[in-house]
C-alpha cells in the first residue's frame, strides 16, 4: 500500500517553485534554510514591512517607502542572478544553479488581483503573516489558518477555474 502511495506522489503536479537540488537534504542540512528565514523575518519586522500601516501607506501612494523596499530587493535579486549566470556560480554542494521559468496563466491576473485585495485587508503577504505572529500578534494565526483554507479551496477547485 505504501509503495503505491509513494509512486503516486513521485509523479506530482509540479509545484511552481520546485526544489531543483539533486542531492537530498534531511534534518540538520535543512536548518540552514531556517537560518536564512530568521534573518528574513528580522528584516521584515525591523523595516516595518509587516506593518498594516505601511501597506495602507503604499496602496494610498503616500510614501515611497514600500516601493523602495520591494524595488531595491528586486534590483539586488536581479544583479545576483545575472552574476550567478554570467560566472556560472555553483551551489555550495557544487551543483549548477537552475531556476524554473514561470509560465503565464490567467491565474496570475485573476488570482493576483484576489491576493491584492487580501493583502490590503490583512496588511500581509504570506511571509509577513508568519513574522506578525512571531512579533506577538498571535491573533494573526487565525488569518494564517484562513489563508491555509483559501489555499486548500483553490487546490480543490483548481481544475474548474479558468487558467
Amino acid at each position: 500500500m505504501k509503495t503505491t502511495i509513494e509512486r503516486e506522489i513521485d509523479t506530482p503536479i509540479e509545484c511552481e517553485a520546485p526544489n531543483l537540488q539533486r542531492s537530498q537534504e534531511t534534518g540538520l542540512a535543512l536548518l540552514k534554510y531556517m537560518v536564512v528565514g530568521v534573518f528574513f523575518g528580522i528584516i521584515l519586522v525591523k523595516s516595518e514591512v509587516i506593518s498594516w500601516f505601511r501597506i495602507q501607506e503604499m496602496f494610498r501612494l503616500q510614501s515611497f517607502f514600500m516601493y523602495g523596499v520591494i524595488g531595491s530587493a528586486v534590483v539586488v535579486g536581479m544583479i545576483s542572478i545575472l552574476l550567478i549566470k554570467k560566472f556560472n556560480i555553483k551551489t555550495i554542494s557544487g551543483e549548477k544553479i537552475k531556476i524554473q521559468d514561470k509560465e503565464f496563466r490567467k491565474g496570475q491576473i485573476i488570482g493576483g488581483f484576489i491576493f491584492g485585495l487580501g493583502w490590503a485587508l490583512t496588511g500581509a503577504c504570506p511571509g509577513p503573516l508568519f513574522a506578525q505572529i512571531g512579533t506577538g500578534f498571535t491573533v494573526v494565526a487565525v488569518t494564517l489558518v484562513s489563508a491555509l483554507a483559501g489555499t486548500w479551496v483553490y487546490g480543490k477547485f483548481a481544475d474548474k477555474l479558468p487558467n
Binding site: 511552481e16 534554510y33 528574513f40 523595516s47 520591494i70 491565474g107 500578534f137 489563508a147 491555509l148
Partner: protein, 193 residues
C-alpha cells in the same frame, strides 16, 4: 519631500532593508538551488495535513520541506525582532495616511498593527470575520491561484526576468488599490468602525 523625511526617521530605511531582503534570492540559490517563494509553504502544509486525495496536493511535499523550515525561521525572526529589538516608538506613517485612516476609525499607532483590528477580542465579531477570516482566505486563495506571492513573483520572478511575474505583480497592486480605495471604507463600516 515630506516623505523623504518620513523614511529617514524610520528604524531601518528602505535602502538597507530592501537590498538585504533581495539577498535572500542568491542565498537560497547558493545554499541549495532553491527558488525564493513563501506562499508555497501554505500549499505544502495542505499537502502534508489535509491532502484529501486532491491531485493539487498529491505531490512529494517532503522534497519541499526546506520551505517549511524557511517560514519557521521567519516566525522565529519575528519573535527575535519583536521581543529583543523592538522599536519602542509609535509607527510613523505619512500624515496623509494618518488622516485617511483616522477617517476610517484607526488611530492606534503604538504597534506595527492597529490594535483596533488585530486583537483576540475581535475574533468572533464582524471585524474578525472581515480582516482575519475573509482577508486571510483571499491571501491564501489568491496567491495559490496566481502561483506565487510578493516573494515568489515580485522579487524572485522579476529578478529572473519572468514576464508572467510582472503581470502577477501588477495585478497584486491593482487588487490592493481596489481594496484600499473602493471596498475598504464599506467593509470597515460593515465591521463596525
Amino acid at each position: 519631500m515630506g516623505n523623504i523625511i518620513d523614511w529617514i526617521s524610520q528604524p531601518w530605511p528602505w535602502y538597507i532593508a530592501g537590498p538585504l531582503l533581495g539577498l535572500t534570492v542568491p542565498a537560497l540559490l547558493l545554499l541549495g538551488n532553491k527558488s525564493f517563494g513563501i506562499s508555497s509553504s501554505l500549499r505544502h502544509v495542505c499537502a502534508a495535513c489535509v491532502p484529501a486525495k486532491i491531485p493539487f496536493f498529491s505531490y512529494n511535499w517532503r522534497k519541499e520541506a526546506w520551505n517549511l523550515y524557511f517560514v519557521g525561521g521567519v516566525f522565529l525572526g519575528g519573535i527575535i525582532a519583536g521581543f529583543f529589538f523592538s522599536n519602542p516608538d509609535a509607527v510613523v506613517v505619512a500624515e496623509s495616511t494618518q488622516a485617511d485612516l483616522a477617517a476610517l476609525g484607526i488611530s492606534q499607532y503604538n504597534n506595527l498593527l492597529p490594535s483596533e483590528i488585530f486583537s483576540w477580542e475581535n475574533v468572533f465579531s464582524m471585524k474578525g470575520l472581515v480582516f482575519f477570516v475573509f482577508g486571510g482566505f483571499l491571501v491564501g486563495f489568491g496567491t495559490r491561484y496566481a502561483g506565487g506571492c510578493t516573494s515568489g513573483h515580485a522579487i524572485m520572478g522579476i529578478s529572473n526576468l519572468q514576464w508572467p511575474s510582472v503581470v502577477a505583480t501588477i495585478f497584486f497592486m491593482l487588487g490592493g488599490f481596489a481594496m484600499t480605495h473602493l471596498f475598504l471604507p464599506s467593509l470597515m463600516k460593515l465591521a463596525g468602525f
